[in-house]
């Protein structure tokens, strides 16, 4: 079974999906550190914000953002498989509808978050 996942593009895509969980973990650690710095006072908080603006951090965040998008795409693709049969108005909810609903929720939540953050800054 050595290198089993390299033998088929389907498995490669699966491993990429699983690997994006590492990106989610890394970002969770970044945010946790931020929360801790916030609790430690203004100087610590500003230090964390400055670190986030460093070129290395920006590059990391770009990589994490790409990984997050891949994570969302691959999760929404598999999501229909995790759900029981849903019948609405006599018709079965299709896998495509479920995937698209996931995307719609993600886009709406992202827009709402940005709008709220922009309103806070103003």
């Amino acid at each position: 079974m050595q290198g089993w996942w390299r033998r088929d593009p389907f498995f490669v895509r699966y491993m990429v999906r699983e690997a994006t969980a590492v990106a989610v973990l890394v970002y969770a650690v970044v945010l946790t550190v931020g929360a801790v710095r916030l609790a430690q006072g203004e100087a610590a908080w500003n230090g964390w914000l400055a670190a986030l603006r460093s070129p290395g951090s920006v590059l990391l965040h770009v990589v994490l953002l790409v990984a997050m998008v891949v994570h969302a795409k691959s999760w929404f693709e598999i999501m229909p498989k995790t759900m029981p049969m849903i019948v609405i108005g006599g018709r079965r909810l299709s896998a495509t509808t479920i995937t698209r609903s996931g995307w719609a929720a993600a886009v709406i939540a992202s827009i709402a978050l940005f709008a709220w953050a922009a309103w806070w800054r103003a």
Binding site: W4, F11, T82
Partner: protein, 250 residues
């Protein structure tokens, strides 16, 4: 006059009485555009090499006998066409993740044992007499289990599943899909009796939703769906058991 085209078919042979390990053998098979891989193998056995062993029966993708690896992918040989594999060579091996008995014949005993273990038959909710007549089901009730009843036990999903390849104790996609077929049937009352198989580490919890099983299934059973939706059922059962320990699975 039509020219006769040939395609090279390579078969991984294994004859335990003479081979230490499997060995590739190559055949030049004349073919027409409508020939399946199964027909190619039959030509080899009839005309070129009578020692070649392989299972087949219906040749129309309903018996589940002719599963094998065709150029690295689990397929029913009767449903796979040589014209799609040109220019060749077509590489044929026994179904992956199973012990090889001979040539393209794999050992199915473990699969059958697992299938028997899930009680693959309707267990009535209450005893029922003939006088009560037949069960009545609405189309909606039939839809709940119908696709999972399409399983032909071909075991392509087991070849597709990397978790099964890594741990053959995993109950596997096909058997779990059939377990779900009975649980989802409104006529059946045997859910409790099947919970132990579902809840085990080798039950649904060995599945990591790779999803390749559903990709290769020739009858569109979608075993990945059957297994993964039962993770919720298994978790619910676990917590209900935790809350009220008097529940048992007898």
């Amino acid at each position: 006059m039509a020219e006769s085209k040939t395609v090279e078919i390579q078969v991984l042979r294994y004859r335990p009485e003479q081979d230490d390990k499997p060995v590739w053998q190559s055949y030049a098979v004349p073919f027409t555009d409508d020939m399946s891989v199964l027909q190619g193998l039959q030509h080899i056995k009839d005309e070129l090499d009578g020692t070649l062993s392989f299972r087949w029966s219906c040749r129309m993708a309903i018996c589940g006998s002719c599963g094998m690896m065709v150029s690295g992918k689990p397929k029913l040989s009767c449903q796979t066409f040589l014209r799609d594999l040109l220019p060749g060579p077509v590489r044929i091996e026994a179904l992956a993740h199973f012990p090889i008995e001979r040539d393209l014949v794999v050992s199915v005993g473990e699969f059958v044992k697992k299938l028997e273990g899930i009680k693959p038959y309707l267990i009535p909710k209450v005893p029922r007499t003939l006088a009560e007549g037949e069960y009545l089901q609405t189309p909606a009730q039939v839809e709940q289990f119908e696709q999972y009843s399409s399983c032909i036990n071909c075991m392509l999903c087991y070849s597709a599943c990397p978790q099964y390849g890594l741990d053959p104790d995993f109950t596997g996609p096909g058997v779990l899909a059939l377990l779900h077929r009975y649980n989802a049937d409104s006529r059946d009352g045997g859910r409790e009796q099947r919970m132990e198989v579902l809840n085990a580490q080798e039950g649904v919890w060995s599945c990591t939703a790779v999803g390749y099983c559903s990709e290769v299934c020739p009858k569109h059973v979608d075993p990945a769906n059957a297994v993964n939706q039962n993770k919720v059922n298994s978790a619910r059962d676990y917590f209900l058991r935790f809350l009220s320990p008097k529940r048992d699975s007898s």
